[in-house]
């Protein structure tokens, strides 16, 4: 990536590419003989395809092939038994409305789109249920999957506490909706050689999944994904429609491009699952928590199970001897969910952080004071000390910046004409992960450094962060460093998810730089040069155009001795209109406690972005289904409301910026998830403080605020 034109070393290394239109996303590669795939999708929710008439489509102008379960294009892995029943074009079963049932491939996009409209299916319909509330109500007698129950101390201790609350919280389905539409270009060549241009959060994962389905060696598959137009979790797996496109290319012997529609983004590439949660909290009159119970039902599909960490936070975030949790998933006839930013922890934090605010209110305490009073000294779940936690300082900084002293503890106290003002706070927490990654460093006699790793960047600024780590260690200006990613032929790295990339890949960058420095020092010593000699001089003196080192890096035993988390504190000020019930977020202060901040500009943007996502989760986002038909009815950007520019106030971001002494060489922890986790509860708490109305069902739309109950 070209970063020579940047004015500031903290600017994004790929900034020039992104502002000039030169950054190439998957759908933008020109391949000779490129063809276009367009999907035909089911119009029923459950049942079987009885007939599929593709004749008219096959005869339409420009059509090369129509793929479906009728011709089962070759995919050896799908011919075997087992695995998910969702084997695209290998089943006549319908599991959800909008399931891909055929793909038309033609020589132009318009021709493929027209021909797809000519494919006609008939079905044998079966009864279905897409209503999660109903599924949960009906699930009582069924054996459900989920995660093991957790218990510490006395179960349901809250029930006998001096002060107790027990409340139920609802979250709707949310849809990731990155701006870039999903899809893939597949180019299957003779001798089972395959090149794909993918929208993926993990090039190695995509390579492995395709190899498994088509039973070809991973070495035969080249996955390119240099620029990804957002993911938020939905590109953490290789979806059936991607497999279908590879099938199509193999079948016709030409490259095939699939770009799904925005409507299809709601059905076939995952969502944040709906959840129903019950929280019970008990405290003594002094405001010490004596019992926490968190029970959750999460939505899943009938054909694959999906679970996530909805009840994790309750186990360790507050000092409390009696904690029990339960998490089960309940299937509905919809596409399988996938992690969405913050994933299950964001779902759980809405409930827990709302409940904490409710308990503070029940105790007539300032919710900030109540949180500080119950701040844990150690991780009681793992019986370990925290590696690094500065929550109290983060509370202080944030409270001062939002103007917490203006807040009145009695709800509805701040009224200016028709506007009611309220303040809310919440905490977000996420496991500070560190995986295993390899990085190759090529130090050149021209003064430049090239770093390579098969990691991905969906937007947080991976290349920028890695460049800054190397620049600091090697004392090489950022504009002399290139970080290459998004290419499966590079040294292996895990997928970009779980806020782990900076910690995981950054550690390998660190290790490579340390090794390069020591090699240069050895070369200098051997050639009678000063130990502090510049590497360019050392390489030249040794007649070396470059040196190359690859390092693999992973966490060690420190993870057994310490509990490692990233934390965020969100402060929100809202104004609620008393006649219309409209909530306007007036000010946001987010404080990140995630170790050293390696890349200040991109880190701030990530926190800002999390807050914006949090405003959507809190106030507007909900994928609505007409349960009579099992179809989404707001599957577009006009009806599914993600925040727009006018919804967002100024956002202040502060970082504690102290190194975590144990996590990794940089002392830096991930922050992609914590930027969002808990945010929706801060809004709900602020709305309560403004109006006295506790909304336990997201999104907080005006109708709920104006409702009588």
């Amino acid at each position: 990536m070209e970063n020579r034109m940047l004015k500031d070393e903290n600017d994004r290394v790929d900034g020039v590419f992104k502002v000039t239109g030169k950054a190439k996303y998957f759908a933008e590669y020109e391949l000779p003989g490129l063809t276009y795939g367009v999907l035909v999708t089911s119009t029923i929710t459950k049942g079987k395809i009885t007939t599929l008439d593709t004749k008219a489509a096959e005869k339409a102008p420009g059509v090369i092939s129509v793929l479906s379960h009728l011709n089962k294009p070759s995919a050896p892995g799908y011919e075997q038994d087992g695995g998910s029943p969702m084997k695209i074009f290998y089943t006549d079963k319908i599991f959800y409305n909008g399931q891909p049932i055929a793909m038309v491939v033609a020589n132009t996009f318009e021709r493929a789109t027209y021909a797809a409209s000519l494919v006609k299916a008939t079905y044998a319909k079966e009864e279905f249920n897409t209503n999660f509330d109903k599924a949960v109500a009906d699930s009582k007698s069924k054996k459900l999957q989920g995660q093991p129950d957790y218990k510490r101390g006395v179960e349901n201790a809250y029930k006998t506490a001096e002060v107790k609350i027990e409340e139920k919280y609802h979250l709707p389905i949310e849809t990731h909706n990155p701006m870039e539409l999903h899809g893939i270009i597949a180019d299957w060549r003779p001798n089972n050689q395959l090149t794909v241009y993918a929208k993926t959060q993990g090039v190695k994962a995509t390579q492995g999944t395709i190899a498994n389905v088509f039973k070809i060696p991973v070495e035969n598959i080249q996955v390119n994904s240099e620029f990804v137009g957002g993911g938020f979790g939905m590109a953490l797996r290789t979806w059936p429609v991607e497999i279908a496109t590879v099938m199509a290319s193999k079948h016709i012997g030409k490259p095939v491009k699939l770009v799904i529609t925005r409507m299809q983004m709601f059905t076939m590439v995952g969502n944040r699952p709906a959840a129903i949660q019950t929280i019970g909290l008990g405290a003594n009159k002094d405001g010490k928590l004596t019992g926490i119970t968190h029970r959750a039902f999460g939505e899943t599909s009938v054909y694959e199970n999906f679970t996530e960490g909805v009840v994790n936070m309750a186990k360790f975030m507050y000092q409390c001897d009696n904690v029990n949790t339960q998490y089960t998933v309940v299937p509905v006839d919809l596409g399988v969910p996938i992690w969405m930013r913050g994933p299950g922890e964001a779902t759980g934090a809405f409930a827990l952080e709302s409940a904490i605010d409710e308990m503070a209110h029940a105790l007539d305490m300032d919710p900030l004071e109540f949180r500080i009073k119950n701040d844990p000294e150690r991780d009681q779940q793992r019986s370990l000390p925290f590696s690094d936690k500065n929550i109290k300082e983060a509370y202080r900084v944030g409270a001062q910046k939002i103007g917490w002293n203006e807040r009145k503890n009695k709800p509805g106290s701040l009224i200016d004409g028709q506007l009611k003002t309220g303040y809310g706070v919440s905490i977000g927490v996420f496991n500070a992960n560190r995986g295993r990654a390899s990085v190759k460093g090529i130090l050149k006699a021209d003064g430049s450094l090239v770093l390579q790793s098969a990691t991905s960047d969906i937007g947080p600024g991976t290349g920028t962060g890695m460049t800054l780590i190397a620049s600091k260690l090697m004392k090489i200006p950022a504009d002399k460093i290139t970080f290459e990613l998004g290419d499966s032929s590079l040294p292996p790295a895990p997928s970009q998810g779980g806020s782990a990339t900076l910690s995981t890949v950054g550690s390998a960058v660190n290790d490579v730089c340390v090794a390069l420095k020591s090699t240069i020092a050895e070369l200098a010593a051997n050639s009678n040069m000063d130990a502090t000699a510049n590497f360019v001089d050392v390489l030249k003196k040794n007649n070396l155009p470059s040196i190359e080192i690859m390092k693999q890096s992973q966490a060690g035993k420190e993870r057994e001795a310490y509990s490692m988390y990233s934390f965020s504190i969100h402060f929100v000020k809202v104004k609620v209109h008393s006649l219309t019930g409209v909530v306007k977020v007036d000010k946001i202060v987010s404080v990140g406690d995630s170790g050293t901040i390696v890349s200040p500009k991109t880190a701030r943007s990530q926190m800002v972005g999390g807050a914006v996502g949090g405003v959507g989760m809190a106030l507007t986002e909900e994928s609505i289904i007409d349960h009579r038909y099992g179809r989404y009815i707001n599957n577009n950007f006009a009806d599914y409301h993600v925040p727009v520019n006018a919804d967002i106030p100024e956002i202040e971001v502060h970082f504690i910026n102290k190194p975590d002494p144990y996590i990794n060489p940089m002392g830096a922890k991930g922050m992609g998830e914590i930027a969002l986790i808990g945010f929706s509860a801060a809004v709900a708490n602020a709305v309560f403080n403004a109006t006295g109305k506790r909304i336990r069902s997201l999104p907080i739309t005006p109708d709920k605020i104006l409702a009588d109950s």
Binding site: D11, V19, M179, I252, T261
Partner: protein, 207 residues
């Protein structure tokens, strides 16, 4: 059912109509070179002649004389025909602004405009904004204020931002936000985008 045959794509009703009504006229009007080239799939080639209609337009100061099917959007024409992929497809419904370009100086959603509707017009895309290696002030301001993360909505945001300044809708943060609300950024770079626009508008920079 057997797999579909790539060559067996002839003979739908529209083809038959074209054959019967126009084939003789078409042959009369078609240069012999084209006829030779069309030998293998004659009706397919002829159909193209009739389905496509001529289009003259200027994109980034370069004149294009082409022909295009009337159903092709300006967005798909730019991306798939001219390979100017800086203009992005985010929804195809005019709801997200990722496809924003300037047509005769005004910002439009290119997904809501058919290519043929732009006959004789001047189109500017993100690729036409910089002056060689010298970035447009708005592009530089987006980098400085980090007005993006994944970068996918960015070309549309920048084209809208330039128009927003030219339209004079920059008297306050809230006015800028209002006039930039047709461009969705899912990464949530809105405050940074507004900062970039304020900087450019204060510099009284005109595109």
């Amino acid at each position: 059912m057997q797999s579909s045959d790539p060559k067996n794509n002839q003979g739908d009703s529209r083809r038959d109509f074209l054959k019967k009504s126009s084939l003789i006229t078409a042959i009369a009007l078609t240069p012999s070179v084209a006829l030779k080239a069309a030998e293998s799939q004659a009706d397919e080639r002829f159909a193209e002649l009739f389905e496509k209609i001529p289009l003259n337009l200027t994109v980034n100061n370069k004149a294009y004389q082409t022909s295009v099917e009337p159903r092709v959007t300006l967005l798909d024409y730019l991306r798939e025909e001219l390979h100017l992929t800086g203009t992005k497809k985010g929804c195809d419904h005019g709801q997200c602004g990722a496809c924003t370009v300037h047509v005769d100086g005004e910002r439009v959603n290119s997904c809501l405009s058919l290519a043929v509707m732009n006959e004789g017009k001047k189109v500017t895309t993100i690729e036409g904004l910089a002056n060689g290696d010298e970035l447009h002030p708005m592009q530089a301001a987006f980098i400085k204020h980090d007005g993006f993360q994944c970068g996918y909505c960015t070309p549309g945001q920048i084209m809208s931002a330039v128009a927003c300044v030219n339209e004079g809708h920059t008297t306050s943060r809230s006015e800028i936000s209002e006039y930039m609300s047709g461009n969705i950024c899912r990464c949530g770079a809105y405050p940074n985008i507004v900062d970039a626009i304020i900087e450019v508008s204060k510099g009284e920079t005109k595109a």
